[in-house]
Amino acid sequence: MLLEVRDLHVEFRTRDGVAKAVNGVDYQVDAGETLAVLGESGSGKSVTAQAVMGILDMPPGRITGGEVLFRGRDLLTLKEDERRRVRGAEMAMIFQDALSSLNPVLSVGDQLGEMFVVHRGMSKKDARARAVELMDRVRIPAARERVKQYPHQFSGGMRQRIMIAMALALEPALIIADEPTTALDVTVQAQVMELLAELRREYRMGLILITHDLGVVADVADRIAVMYAGRIVESAPVHDLYKAPAHPYTRGLLDSVPRLDLKGRDLCAIKGLPPNLANVPPGCAFHPRCPMARDVCRTDVPPLYEVSETRGSACHFWRECLHG
């Protein structure tokens, strides 16, 4: 197993109290596999990824429990310097907003080359040559000329390609992409996503794709983990989940996507708002919004029930959900 997150807990200390952002998340990614992590904002999907990368802002963030096993080593017990060598070289991250995620006052060549200078000890000149190569890899035209330019001189799609190039630079085993296409135009989204999927196949990397966009997931992911209020509520191979969700929240998500074949029918939005993480409801965190909620949901936290060998659902009534 390439990456295994076990029972991860993260909380944030804010002025308004302690917010439990991640409450016992488990997931695995194999080499060459794509895991999509799905959830609303505030579900803890990005926080989990940041904890895995080791770029969580601490404070206010704090990892209060769990393990992050990467190639068998628990990253959480590594010293900061060892941890740093893993970042960028063995696992890399692609962020949502490339414009703000790239340094505005350094040329893209400098920012790409920096990876080789720092991790590989290359000279600036060699690093610059590698930067041009990388920009070619992600199909940025006229790379040799544009390598000297600054991020604001590129279009949104091109900038995201630069982010991808930066993540690929040292051919890491795992890439975490946090909403990589959300900030882009729809037409560009598809191109960038395609490029990312293609490069992942080519390099045989593991990919964690964090998104709230179900459409993106269906095309590229092998497995899906759905998060709600800091927990995994359903985990399944992508096609199983689309065919028949085993959690009412997943069902709600699927129903809230406009579909051409169901034109004319009402969209079922999930009623209510995500919970306040400083004050998560007792029992199943989803029960105030759940159409199937019963008394037991208000008192007992559902474990991740084994639906099949490859699926899990954290719903007391997953059978009903699956078949109804």
Partner: protein
């Protein structure tokens, strides 16, 4: 860039004319330019009338202003109260004040930025709170009080330095006055740097730099500082103009014979030529400093493009 500079230079003309005219009016209308010319006594009416005619003071003010400015552009700043050329006074006074200002800027850069970076990176810790309170106190205590107190402590009580500066104003004697002159700006530089660092520290590109696996040192110096110092550098640049204009208080406390001293003498004796001449140069310095700052901004931040 070239066109921008030209446009800015053109824009400076009305500001320069306005500021000098304003000062010219203040000195002329408010005071009596020839009152000081007869020494301590009042001039008798006949002499006064003769002097007025001689200096062109019987003409309308706008004409006087034009004549004066015409002379200034040929390098003739007129004569000071003691018969010296104003340009001669300037050539002794400006180097002194310039030295004082440079020392002050040095303090701002070294102490102000260091404190700002340290506190910005440790926001909310005791060091941060302490420095923040200290800067508030420094900003609140007027420069002349800071100057007098430091003079009292270092010069009189502990005898570390000479309480007043000799007329050559060597660099070492200007250290304390320089610190006093810098004090308020220094506190602002600290706060500005702190805010800027603290803001940028949470920025996405710093997070990217961390995610790239760069060592902390490199993240701070290459990514965080490079961005955070842009507003600080421009503040310090613009401060050159302010410091030279505000040096008058510091110069008085430490008895430094710089621009402020000469101006003060000129004002006391109501010598138009000295006052207007010196202020004209100060206004020019201020305007040029601001222009340089704007150009500097473009150099430091590639996102700024001038058209």
């Amino acid at each position: 860039m070239g066109r921008y500079v030209v446009r800015r230079l053109l824009q400076m003309i009305p500001v320069f004319a306005g500021a000098t005219l304003l000062i010219f009016l203040m000195v002329n209308v408010m005071g009596d330019p020839i009152a000081g010319l007869c020494g301590e006594r009042r001039c008798d009416p006949a002499t006064a009338a003769r002097l007025r005619a001689e200096f062109g003071l019987d003409k309308p003010v706008w004409q006087q202003y034009l004549t004066y400015m015409g002379n200034v552009f040929t390098g003739d700043f007129g004569t000071a109260f003691n018969g010296q050329e104003v340009t001669e006074l300037m050539s002794t006074a400006f180097p002194v004040t310039l030295r004082l200002t440079l020392i002050a800027i040095l303090f701002e850069v070294v102490i102000g930025i260091t404190l700002g970076v340290v506190t910005g990176l440790r926001r909310g810790r005791p060091v941060d709170t302490g420095v923040l309170l200290f800067t508030l106190v420094v900003i609140s205590v007027p420069t002349f009080v800071t100057g007098l107190l430091l003079q009292l402590l270092l010069g009189v009580k502990w005898g570390w330095i000479r309480p007043s500066v000799s007329s050559e104003a060597p660099l070492d004697e200007l250290l304390l006055p320089g610190l006093v002159l810098a004090s308020v700006s220094l506190a602002y530089v600290t706060r500005l740097t702190r805010t800027s660092i603290a803001e940028n520290r949470r920025s996405d590109y710093v997070r990217t730099a961390v995610a790239k696996g760069l060592p902390r040192r490199r993240v701070v110096t290459r990514h965080l500082l490079r961005n955070s110092l842009i507003p600080v550098v421009t503040f310090i640049g613009a401060d050159v103009g302010f410091l030279m204009g505000g040096a008058i208080v510091t110069e008085r406390i430490f008895n430094i014979h710089g621009v402020g001293y000469q101006l003060y003498q000129g004002i006391l004796r109501q010598n138009t030529q000295t006052v207007v001449g010196f202020v004209t140069v100060l206004v020019l310095v201020f305007l040029v400093a601001n222009l340089v700052v704007d150009l500097l901004y473009a150099v430091l931040d590639p996102r700024i493009r001038y058209v």
